[in-house]
């Protein structure tokens, strides 16, 4: 069905806000990539370039007291949960004002107050953790939902299996998604799994699953909303496969020569931002002038973020020794 028609189910304001976050994510990550190229950022830079619709779509479908366990290409979700562009850049620059105060880098950030479970490099490790957060909500009888994901490669890990199984056995209020961008670093799907669609993994747990166009923010939003509603209603977990394509290298150092150019060409046409603009145009929610205006706005916000981050202090050496253990005060709230 035509995605603009589908998108009619979504409030105008929500769609416009998603468009804004798509642009903000793109602009922010492009800027981070530029800083990396200039050698200003060290270490890994994993972007969601061309996949922004997934994080923006699902994070927009959540309530503010829900919790997310994002994976490493979910920048839009961090932003929607309230982490500012300035904090993100500070994180990449190792500044004390970043969410981890320089203790960790790039997408390895989290913040319980904003309902974000910090990403752990070890892929799929946060899926069992997400089921535990959902278990806590179920035990306390809270109508809260956890939204957690991993990549196509991450679904090969044992922790994916143990989390999917536990979530379905206990009918936990969690939605588990897979960002299927067809590669795990250089590894194509055929070396990762024998199934045609990642969603088939859900069959092993009698968990309902859905294949979604990951480059259509409206489709991501609506499928997420359905799954979240199911979870909130106590009907248990759902698995969502968001089909997309990794448009950059695994990390910015990687030219990704192993990806056929045609594949990239084909997917370039499905760019989530172009898709969103088409929908907004068709629904009469926005025109080129509006899109440009949003572009200006996010450009300014990112520029301010860079400034904030650059003004921010680096941590001092001795801070290394702080924070290994939590204190009573931190938990007595």
């Amino acid at each position: 069905m035509d995605s603009a028609v589908v998108a009619q189910e979504i409030k105008r304001a929500d769609l416009l806000q998603m468009y804004y976050y798509l642009r903000l994510t793109r602009t922010l990550e492009d800027r981070i990539t530029a800083l990396y190229r200039q050698g200003r950022i060290v270490g890994g830079v994993y972007t969601s370039h061309g996949m922004e619709a997934i994080a923006v779509g699902y994070a927009s479908a959540l309530e503010c007291d829900d919790v997310i366990a994002p994976f490493h290409r979910d920048m839009g979700a961090f932003l929607i949960r309230g982490i500012t562009p300035g904090e993100v850049i500070a994180q990449y620059l190792g500044k004390r004002t970043g969410p981890t105060k320089g203790k960790d880098g790039n997408v390895h950030m989290g913040d319980l107050k904003r309902g974000i479970i910090g990403f752990v490099s070890h892929l799929a490790d946060n899926l069992p953790v997400a089921t535990g957060a959902a278990l806590a909500f179920k035990i306390r009888g809270e109508a809260r939902v956890v939204f957690a994901g991993t990549g196509d490669g991450g679904t090969s890990r044992g922790d994916f299996h143990e989390a999917m199984n536990f979530a379905s056995v206990r009918k936990l209020p969690v939605v588990i998604f897979c960002n299927n961008n067809q590669y795990a670093y250089s590894t194509p799907l055929r070396y990762q799994m024998a199934i045609k669609d990642v969603v088939e993994r859900a069959n092993a747990y009698a968990m309902p699953g859905e294949i979604v166009d990951g480059n259509d923010v409206a489709a991501v939003y609506l499928s997420s909303r359905r799954a979240i509603a199911r979870a909130r209603a106590g009907e248990g977990p759902t698995f969502l496969e968001f089909k997309t394509m990794r448009m950059h290298g695994h990390s910015e150092h990687d030219p990704a020569k192993y990806v056929p150019r045609e594949l990239l060409e084909e997917w370039k046409k499905k760019d989530p931002i172009l898709n969103a603009e088409q929908i907004l145009r068709q629904l009469g929610y926005g025109d080129d002038a509006y899109f440009q205006e949003v572009g200006q706005r996010v450009k300014k916000e990112v520029a301010e973020g860079v400034e904030f981050a650059e003004r921010s202090p680096l941590p001092e050496g001795p801070e290394v020794l702080e924070g290994v253990f939590a204190t009573e005060e931190e938990v007595s709230t």
């Binding site: 390895h108 910090g118 069992p128 089921t131 535990g132 278990l135 806590a136 989390a163 536990f166």
Partner: protein, 330 residues
């Protein structure tokens, strides 16, 4: 499930059960998860009756997935609950190693998220369990910053340390020694008490030689001390009780007094906790040492099954006696 009465002697096992029961009653955030802890009451019956008393959402039988349910405990802890995980045997903790060392141990340091949870690990040999039901895994976690480790040797410490662990804002691995479950008994105070994490205890004070140990080996050391007393060798037995953070002060004070030290543990010798304490002494108390720091520990092999092999493998009273005589003569 047994309730505390000031007069009755309780076993080490009952003490653990009491601590869980009292903490679950005191704090509704506390819940249990693990294999066969519900209907069955746990492989060692420590949670017998808990399911009926607290219901299936506070006493969760999990699928056979150590990594999965430890990860789940981490998530629940971050959301404000106080999960207590039961490993059916400490040996299977290897399956959850990644969740414990990479997620639970590092979350607070990395991004400030407290992970207040306890993992109960029934460990140790002397029970004819063989290589996979007798392991002492504490050495691995001793080298994983972000975790606290405790290992009680008496019913009093077992109860007090478990309560302290449950109330601690950090991930704590609670090493309960299977050999002690039904072998040591004591009358416990009726009122609520804890044994603070981070404090060793001198279980026997003496003047000649310090034995630093923990878990089941504490009793071995005390037996050896009685033998040696007859020969005029006066052992001081320091029970670590908490392995991380180490109570350096108590250890150092003892060795400053005796100036001779023996490290005793059931875990494999190489890279064991005894090595760290010996290194600390050689580094920070060198001046007060009047002799080599001896170590008595299991050899560097898995725990063998057959009785004569396991007897050879485990440290014995005679080992402590021999080492102490050697040191006394030094």
């Amino acid at each position: 499930m047994t309730t505390a009465t000031a007069t009755r002697e309780v076993t080490y096992l009952e003490a653990i059960s009491q601590a869980l029961d009292e903490e679950m009653t005191r704090d509704e955030r506390v819940f249990l998860l693990g294999e066969d802890i519900g209907v069955y009451g746990g492989a060692f019956k420590i949670t017998e009756g808990f399911l009926q008393k607290y219901g299936e959402w506070r006493v969760l039988d999990t699928p056979l997935s150590e990594s999965g349910f430890v990860g789940a405990a981490i998530g629940a802890a971050m959301m404000g609950l106080r999960p207590v995980v039961e490993m059916q045997f400490a040996d299977f903790i290897s399956c959850a190693f990644d969740q414990i060392t990479e997620v639970a141990a590092k979350n607070h340091y990395r991004w400030g998220a407290p992970v207040p949870m306890v993992i109960r690990a029934p460990f140790g040999g002397g029970v004819h369990g063989g290589p996979f039901h007798s392991e002492c895994p504490e050495g691995w976690f001793f080298h994983s910053p972000g975790l606290k480790l405790v290992a009680p040797s008496t019913p009093y410490d077992a109860k007090g340390l478990l309560k302290a662990a449950i109330r601690d804002p950090n991930p704590v691995i609670y090493f309960e020694h299977k050999f002690l479950y039904r072998r040591v008994k004591a009358v416990l105070p009726a009122e609520d008490f804890i044994v603070p994490i981070g404090r060793a205890e001198v279980k026997r004070s003496g003047t000649d030689i310090t034995v630093v140990t923990y878990g089941a080996m504490v009793h071995l050391a005390l037996e050896a001390a009685d033998v040696l007393a007859k020969e005029g060798i006066d052992l001081e037995v320091v029970d670590l009780r908490t392995l991380i953070p180490l109570d350096k002060e108590t250890i150092f004070n003892s060795v400053r007094k005796t100036s001779k030290a023996i490290m005793l543990h059931e875990d494999n010798k190489t890279g064991g906790i005894g090595a760290e304490i010996a290194a600390l002494l050689a580094e920070e108390c060198f001046g007060c040492l009047d002799g080599p720091i001896l170590r008595i520990a299991a050899p560097d092999t898995p725990v063998p099954f057959s009785t004569p092999l396991e007897e050879y493998f485990l440290p014995k009273v005679v080992d402590v006696v021999t080492a102490a005589r050697k040191l006394a003569a030094y």
